[in-house]
């Protein structure tokens, strides 16, 4: 048992490792350019000297560590280089890489770019803008010398670029070991120490955002789980023992329909008909309500219940239908087994059979379902929180995506994955405790 538990925990490492890698790169690709974009917008609005913006950009990037190599190992083609990420402007970076691929010689391109960069501070601000524009217009399809008209010696250097092409270098892969002073290592280190970094958009710490949000998502998920089981379990037992009753038929039909209704539709309809004030005005439309200072605990609870009723309905109906269907199947299978027939033959009452014999055996699927429901709840609360504007993880992530706050988005993805995995593990372990006959996979292997 312990061995199995340890093995499962060890399996967390590769999964989260791959995930962290994915998350880091996605955030990395998107973030750096976001920074440039932001600075450029500032420049446009303030009308500052372009060279100051340029330098501020580099300083900011250096402060955030973007100039460091991104991983332990750099892989690049010989005609390119491993420090491309030091060029802050994404368009210039792309153009230089294109030109380098065209002529197969990075050193030359780099020399050209260095000259251009050195020239930059010596020019008037109008010329500076022209030069930067030229750099952004470099077109490597046919290396065009007709740009850079105002800068004769740069132009000659640019013309000189395609003279000795070395395209063979395009086909040589290169590797470089960067050591531990790289962005991924530092990011991962901070992450393991519980520091999720800062949001690039509003500079608040991601930890703070997550701390505020996770409480509501957990509350919603746990309440929804409780509601699901307290409705679905009695309903499933009732309808398996009274298959002819009208209520059973209604439940079957109703839950079949529930299964196919999209939850964002139900949520929208719930607001439309019960909260918007145009039809029935029973519940508030969104949010969690404002707690005033003189509220007593019971008043706060009442306020929260009023605000959370509709979200909880929207979040729970789907899993109620799911649990009902699975549990009913399992009960019907159990009912045909010998021990139930024996119990009936002994003359035990229905309730004694139900709770004394059947419940334990039929409820095993409940535990496995728990594992499946947890990720689904996360996904479900995603939309429900957005619709009802509850400040949980779902709303936070949608807001982050809309404001293109990548450092937050991918941390949230990582956290959600972690919680789902913990959920799955708990379900597996509970399953083992509930039914020791079930062999966990590692013990299985040992016997083979």
């Amino acid at each position: 048992m312990l061995k199995y538990f340890a093995k499962r925990l060890l399996l967390f490492i590769p999964t989260l490792g791959v995930m962290s890698f994915f998350v880091f790169y996605m955030a990395q690709f998107s973030q750096q350019d976001l920074l440039v974009q932001k600075e450029e917008n500032n420049f446009r609005s303030s009308g500052d000297n372009i060279i100051e913006t340029w330098e501020a950009n580099y300083a900011k990037a250096e402060q955030l560590g973007f100039h460091k190599p991104s991983f332990y190992l750099s892989i690049f083609r010989k005609s390119s280089c491993d420090t491309l990420n030091r060029i802050q402007d994404p368009i210039i970076r792309q153009n230089l890489e294109d030109v380098a691929y065209q002529i197969g010689n990075w050193e030359k391109v780099n020399r050209f770019y260095a000259t251009a960069k050195e020239t930059l501070p010596l020019l008037t601000s109008k010329e500076q803008q022209a030069l930067i524009q030229d750099l952004k217009n470099l077109n490597s399809k046919k290396i065009q010398p007709n740009i850079l008209e105002e800068f004769p010696y740069l132009k000659s250097e640019f013309k000189d670029l395609p003279t000795n092409k070395n395209q063979f270098q395009n086909y040589i892969p290169s590797l470089k070991w960067n050591g531990f002073n790289n962005q991924y290592h530092l990011w991962l280190n901070a992450l393991l120490q519980g520091d999720f970094g800062k949001s690039l958009v509003d500079a608040t710490s991601v930890n703070e955002k997550v701390n505020n949000a996770i409480y509501w998502t957990l509350l919603l998920s746990i309440l929804s789980l409780l509601i699901t089981f307290s409705i679905a379990v009695p309903a499933a037992f009732y309808s398996s023992f009274n298959p002819e009753s009208i209520l059973c038929k209604i439940l079957d039909k109703l839950f079949f329909l529930f299964y196919a209704i999209p939850n964002f539709w139900i949520a929208t309809l719930l607001i439309l008909f019960f909260a918007s004030g145009d039809y029935l005005d029973w519940f508030p439309t969104y949010g969690l309500g404002f707690v005033q200072d003189d509220y007593t605990t019971s008043q706060i609870i009442e306020l929260r219940i009023r605000h959370l009723t509709l979200p909880l309905i929207a979040l729970s109906y789907g899993s109620i239908a799911f649990v009902y269907k699975q549990l009913k199947n399992s009960i019907q299978q159990e009912l045909q087994k010998d021990y139930i027939i024996t119990a009936k033959a002994k003359g035990l009452s229905t309730s004694a059979i139900m709770w004394g014999q059947l419940f334990k055996n039929a409820s095993f699927p409940l535990i496995t379902m728990l594992g499946g429901i947890i990720p689904a709840l996360f996904s479900g609360s995603f939309i429900v929180e957005y619709i009802f504007s509850i400040p949980g993880m779902g709303k936070l992530s949608i807001e982050s995506i809309l404001s293109r706050d990548f450092s937050t988005i991918y941390i949230l993805l990582l956290i959600a994955t972690f919680f789902s995995m913990v959920g799955l593990l708990i379900a597996d372990v509970l399953y083992h405790f509930a039914d020791p006959r079930v062999q966990l996979s590692s013990e299985n292997k040992a016997q083979k």
Partner: protein, 355 residues
């Protein structure tokens, strides 16, 4: 399969396919096709200024004749809901079948292979395995660097041709090594099942919608990318189904006798296992269709689906959120999604009955 005439979902799918194919003709402004008079004289983005500000289907509308009536009302800008609904069905159809096709292909292939070979029956000689293990890192390193993925002047097609050519060369090298290396008796099994199961576990551990939304943040959504994004997570359930079914079938006696007759793995898989495992797989495909349609609608609802000028059911429901008086904005597209999902589930009964 006899009872397909009694299954209403079959008719629903046929009608749906027709509407999806003919939506631009059924509902258009009329200027484009002079020959045929469209049934609904509004295109989904056409703005009727006389009937803007969300006219209910039952209100009096400012129209010349009943031909111009907005049968399901209009939205805030005065766009016809019925027309948007029909064009939305086209979107749902393309996404639904696209995902079923791609996810089905990946899921059936991986699930089938994992189920059939399991962990200990796919043997490879140690020499070949070693060659593969050495060559694979070289291959992936070269693929990442040599093929000009990041170069904007090389077209995507060229990149893929380059990639395909490169992979072919690599495969030929691998094949030649396999052919001309000395035959040895020492073999090792490849734990195919373990590998596939781990990948499935990994993808299933991530909350689905979360992952999809994160992916749409990086990838520009279009029909094709939306299908790819949804397929990249939807294949796991199909693979799980197929794997389970293949494991069930492969222990049957007729497979044993096929093996005794010295049929090779490929023949057994194609002629004996696939046909017998097909009907449960079709069940999982129709469930996959329902899931794909729901996911597309959810993404569009969040404003992260396909581009803004394509009509989509999810987008229509989202528009109801700005305007809660207009129940018709939410009710009709929701019903369309609901009926389609129920129909997909119903369609699965068709395949179940065969057993």
């Amino acid at each position: 399969m006899k009872s397909w005439k009694k299954n209403w979902a079959v008719y629903y799918f046929l009608i749906w396919a027709c509407i999806a194919a003919l939506a631009p003709i059924i509902a258009s402004q009329g200027e484009t096709s002079q020959l045929i008079k469209p049934l609904i004289p509004y295109s989904p983005s056409a703005i009727d200024y006389d009937n803007s500000n969300s006219i209910s289907p039952f209100d009096s509308q400012q129209i010349e004749s009943n031909y111009y009536r907005h049968w399901l009302g209009t939205d805030e800008l005065g766009r016809d809901i019925l027309s948007q609904l029909l064009h939305g069905s086209r979107t749902a159809f393309i996404i639904g079948f696209g995902v079923v096709f791609i996810a089905g292909l990946i899921g059936i292939l991986l699930g089938g292979l994992a189920g059939y070979f399991g962990d200990r029956t796919l043997f490879v000689s140690k020499r070949k395995l070693a060659a593969g293990l050495i060559l694979f890192p070289i291959y992936s390193l070269s693929v990442v660097t040599i093929i000009p993925w990041g170069i904007s002047t090389v077209s995507l097609l060229q990149k893929f041709v380059f990639f395909a050519a490169f992979s072919t060369v690599f495969l030929v090298v691998l094949f030649l090594i396999g052919k001309y290396s000395r035959q040895t008796t020492s073999k090792r099994s490849i734990p195919l099942d373990l590998i596939v199961s781990r990948i499935i576990e990994f993808i299933d551990a991530i909350p689905l919608l979360f992952l999809l939304v994160c992916l749409t943040a990086v990838i520009e959504p279009s029909f094709f990318t939306t299908i790819l994004i949804i397929s990249s997570v939807a294949w796991t359930s199909i693979a799980k189904y197929t794997r389970g079914e293949v494991i069930k079938v492969k222990n049957e006696n007729y497979i044993q006798s096929a093996k005794a007759l010295a049929l090779n793995n490929f023949q057994i898989l194609r002629k004996h296992i696939l046909p017998n495992a097909l009907s449960p797989v079709l069940v999982s495909l129709s469930f996959g269709m329902a899931a794909a349609i729901l996911l597309e609608a959810s993404l569009s609802f969040l404003g992260m689906g396909i581009s803004a000028d394509e009509a989509s059911w999810g987008k229509l429901i989202a528009s109801a959120r700005n305007n809660y008086q207009a129940w018709w904005l939410a009710v009709f597209p929701g019903l369309a999604i609901f009926i389609t999902v129920v129909a997909s589930n119903k369609l699965s009964e068709l395949f179940q009955q065969k057993k």
